[in-house]
């Protein structure tokens, strides 16, 4: 069976900065992939290429063996690859609940014209998801009233509502209070297991990476330079020196 995602020789430069330098990468179903690397090392660019937001100059991206290099985000999402953003992308004039409802309605690809939004989706599923990310108390408040950490959660929850095969999360715990991070990751991972969603997340917190990832890749200057189990990667000397700055 083909890998869930694999890329061949992806190359993209912004002026003189090479953001993706011949990346060969693969991700199997069921993995929990953590991506580490300094700012500007190309982590988000790689996500943007895989989700169709940016087009690489060279190379190809495959999702379940299908070439998606030239597809736009919309089509790739429909194939089952959802994402959340480093800067949460919400509908700021809608309530928290409505944001999730629009997501749930979008999943079917067909939007009703006359049935009320709340009635065209499964309300139990919405409640369940609200509960999961701890936003039930604030469900009827406008999403713009949420603090940054909860905006992040809502952003992840909106992606999750699509029931994707793969969920890519760009720094899901940044902006979340550090004592809440573990609880949040634990619930998220639990939800992903329940739905059998493969996860790929960018994360800076070593504790979180070692605890929740089954595999870690380290990024530097548009290249993958370490790839393996959390123990291997986080203990390797070069990663400690270059990325974690602890050696």
């Amino acid at each position: 069976m083909a890998a869930l995602v694999h890329t061949e020789g992806l190359y993209l430069a912004f002026g003189g900065v090479v953001a993706a330098d011949g990346i060969d990468f693969h991700l199997e179903s069921g993995e929990r992939l953590a991506v580490i690397g300094q700012n500007g090392s190309g982590k988000t660019t790689f996500i943007n290429i895989c989700t169709g937001f940016l087009k690489p100059t060279r190379g190809k991206v495959f999702f379940e063996g299908r070439d998606i290099t030239r597809m736009g985000p919309r089509h790739i999402v429909r194939l089952g690859m959802a994402r959340s953003f480093q800067l949460p992308q919400l509908f700021l004039e809608h309530s928290v609940r409505q944001c999730l409802e629009i997501s749930a309605a979008a999943r079917s690809g067909r939007l009703c014209f006359l049935t009320a939004l709340g009635r065209s989706v499964d309300s139990r599923e919405i409640e369940h998801t609200l509960e999961l990310v701890g936003l039930r108390e604030r469900a009827d408040e406008p999403s713009s009233s949420l603090p940054e950490g909860q905006r992040k959660l809502l952003d992840v929850a909106m992606a999750l509502m699509l029931n994707p095969k793969l969920l890519i999360m760009d720094e899901p715990t940044s902006g979340v209070a550090s004592e809440d991070k573990h609880g949040l990751m634990a619930t998220l991972m639990c939800a992903l297991d329940e739905r059998q969603v493969t996860a790929w997340f960018v994360e800076h917190d070593v504790d979180i990476v070692s605890r929740y990832a089954t595999r870690v890749v380290a990024w530097t200057a548009g290249k993958l330079f370490a790839d393996g189990s959390p123990a291997e990667v986080l203990e390797s000397e070069v990663v400690r020196r270059e990325i974690l700055g602890t050696a």
């Binding site: 509908f91 979008a106 939007l111 009703c112 014209f113 009320a116």
Partner: protein, 319 residues
Amino acid sequence: MSRLLDLRLLTVAGSLLCLVLGLAFPWSKTPLIVGLCYGIAALGVAAMVRAGQVSFGHAMYACVAGYTVAFLARAWPQLDGMLLIMGGIGTSLIAGAVIGVFVVRYRGIFFGMLNLAFCMVLYSVIGKVYDVTGGTDGLRINRPTVLGIAFERDGFETALLIGTLGVAVVLGVLVQRYFQSASGEALAGIKTNETRLEYLGLSARKILWNGYVFSAGIVGVSGAMFALVQGLVTPDIGSWLRSGEFVFITILGGSGHAIGAFLGAAVFELVKLFAAAYMTGIWQLLLGATLIIVILVAPQGIVGLLLQKSAASKGGGGH
């Protein structure tokens, strides 16, 4: 729930008021119908405002529908008024579908100006092809039968008033339901976050196109009714000034709820009537001042003010 009830009551009260006024003072029928037509048109424009887009050319759909009514009525004088209106709506929907393909690619000022451009092209063409359209003199429309009944002038106006009122209420309900449906909420999502829409697998253009065609059809309804009540169509029905008035009413009334369009139209017509009676020379000044006050005091329009108030009283646990 109390908030919805209030607006429902307001709708019923407003409709009754229109009817009573129209029946008690026959001279008020025409201004009432015209006001309702403006309200219907603003309803269409409001759908675009929900998506964060302001069209300065929507009068072209009233124009398309109005001229369709005139052409049909002249070609087949025996055609019923209802069929004429249907024909007008049909052509405005088709025009909206075609022009929509181009304009939904643009946002903000480009969307507004592109609509204006289409509107002005139509306006000048109609003014020039005198043989077909009667140029700036326009086309006269003989009074058609309504549902097979031939009316005298007064009866015809009463029938039109009742018909327009009915259509206004039905369209208001329809538009409000659309606003609250998945499509309508996604349309409002265009205003705040197109990136997210795309990453939910939705096409912002498709959603906007749907809304655009819908709004063109609604403005078409107003144009067709307007043509019938006037018994005449001139290019002015599609002038950019008219488009501006629709936008004016939409902003005045607010796009938070469908009833806003009619509240805006009522205020607009009242101010115009008042100004025509007492301040003939400076009626534009009065309108302008009204708009400035509304924008400063209630940026969400009259309906925004109403919703805010009822939300506040609900939140305070009051009555």
